[in-house]
Symmetry: C2
Subunit: 242 residues, 2 copies
C-alpha cells in the first residue's frame, strides 16, 4: 500500500496518469496537467488481475468504476433462466462498471481474459471532482458514449443472419479497436475462447471454428489458434456486408 512507502513511491503513483500510454484515450484526455493530477489523486488503486479473476460480480454493490490499463476483460450477464450472455470484450482505455449506476448493484460480471490491470475510480470521488472540472465531465461522457457505440456495433453483428458476416464484422471491429490503441490492425491476438466468441456472436462454438476455417480458405485471414492475421481487409469487410 502507498501509505507504507516513502515519498518516491507516492510521487510515482501520483504521476502515473501523466506517464500512462493511454492518457489520450482515458479520462485525462484533454485535461491540463493540474487537472490530470486531480484525476490521479482520485484513482484509489491500480489492481492486477490474473486470467479468470473476477473484477466484480453481478449483484454486488456498486462503489467504483474501472478503467482498463492493460489486458482484456469480458462482461457477461446471466438471465433469470440461467442463460449466460457475453455482453462485451473490453480493451485498455475502456471504462467498466457503468451499467451499475441505474440501480446500486452491478448488473453483470466482469472477468479477466488474461493477466490485466485496472485503475479503480470510487464513484463518489468522481462525482465530486467532475463537478469542478468541466473537461473531466465531458471526457467521462465521451467514454460512456463510446461504450454505447460498441454495444451498437455488437447488435449490428448479431443482427446479421449470415453467421460468416457476424464473424467477419467481429474481426473487422476488433481490428479497428486494436488500431485505436496504436497496435497493429492486421495481427490480432484473440484473448477469448471460441466458446466465448460464439456466445458473443449468438452462435455455437463449432460454427465459429468452421467459419474461421472458411475465412482462411477464402484467403482473407490466416488463423492459428488464437492468432489471426488479416490478409484482405476489403474482402473481410465485404463478407461482413453480405
Amino acid at each position: 500500500m502507498p501509505a507504507n512507502n516513502p515519498a518516491i513511491d507516492l510521487d510515482q503513483v501520483r504521476r502515473q496518469c501523466a506517464r500512462c500510454d493511454l492518457r489520450e484515450l482515458c479520462l485525462p484526455a484533454g485535461l491540463d496537467s493540474a487537472d490530470v493530477d486531480r484525476v490521479d489523486q482520485m484513482v484509489a488503486d491500480r489492481t492486477s488481475l490474473a486470467s479468470g479473476d473476477t473484477l466484480y460480480h453481478a449483484g454486488s454493490p456498486f462503489r467504483a468504476l474501472y478503467v482498463i490499463k492493460s489486458g482484456s476483460l469480458k462482461t457477461q450477464a446471466v438471465s433469470e433462466g440461467g442463460e449466460l450472455q457475453i455482453l462485451g470484450f473490453h480493451l485498455p482505455g475502456e471504462i467498466m462498471g457503468f451499467d451499475a449506476l441505474a440501480g446500486e448493484r452491478h448488473q453483470c460480471s466482469a472477468e479477466a481474459l488474461e493477466a490485466s490491470s485496472v485503475c479503480r475510480l470510487p464513484y463518489a470521488e468522481l462525482e465530486r471532482i467532475s463537478a469542478s472540472v468541466p473537461g473531466l465531465q465531458r471526457q467521462f461522457m465521451r467514454l460512456v458514449s463510446r461504450e454505447m457505440g460498441d454495444d451498437h456495433d455488437h447488435m449490428a453483428m448479431m443482427g446479421r443472419n449470415q453467421a460468416i458476416s457476424r464473424l467477419a464484422l467481429f474481426l473487422h471491429s476488433m481490428s479497428k479497436r486494436q488500431a485505436r490503441l496504436g497496435r497493429s490492425a492486421d495481427q490480432l491476438t484473440l484473448t477469448m475462447s471460441r466458446a466465448d466468441l460464439a456466445n458473443y456472436l449468438g452462435l455455437v462454438l463449432e460454427t465459429v471454428s468452421r467459419l474461421f476455417g472458411r475465412l482462411q480458405e477464402m484467403g482473407v485471414i490466416e488463423v492459428r489458434r488464437r492468432e489471426v492475421k488479416i490478409l484482405d481487409r476489403e474482402g473481410l469487410k465485404s463478407i461482413g456486408e453480405c
Copy 2:
C-alpha cells in the same frame, strides 16, 4: 410558438415538468421543486412528431438530447455496407441521442413509430446546470445507465438461438417496460411493424409472424394484428428461457 403567446402560456410551459406524469421517471426525479423549475427552464421546446417523422438523422450534428414525453420511437443505424439494424424501441421517460456524445454527430437515426412528443434539452445547458445541481447529474446518469441496461437486454434476446425465445423475451421485456410506465402489463399495443420487430430480433418478418401464431396456439398470448394480450406470463417466461 411560445414567444407569440401571452404570459399564461409561458407559465404553463415552465411548469410542465412539475405537472408531467413522467416526472418520477424523467430527469426531475428526486429533485426539489426549485431544481425542477431549473430543469423546466432548460427545456428548449416540446416537439410533436407524426408517425414516420425523424427526430434526428445519423451524421447530423449533435446539439441536444431528447426525453420522450409520449408515443414511441425507434433508433436505427446503417452500416457501411448499407445494412440496417434497429437498435431499440423507446418509450416515454427514456432519454435519446446519447450515443452522439463521443463524436459530435449522431451515430444513428431516430424515427417516430406513432404520433409522439419529446422534450428537447440543449446539451450545453444540461452540462452547465448539472454542474450546480448534483441531483440532476445523478439522475441523468441513472437514465443513461438504464439505457445501457436495455441494450444489454436486447443482446440477451439476440443471443438466444431459438427464435421463439427471442420473441418471448421481447414480449416479456416490453410488458415490464409498460408496467414501469404505469400501464397494463398484460395488454400490449406494439407500435412497430413486423419488419421492424424482425430486424430488431435478428429474424425475418415471416418468422416473427409465424412465431406469434405459435405462441397463440400454445395459449400464452392472444394476438390480433399489433394488439397482444399476455395470457400466461409464466409460460411466456419459460419459453424465453428454453
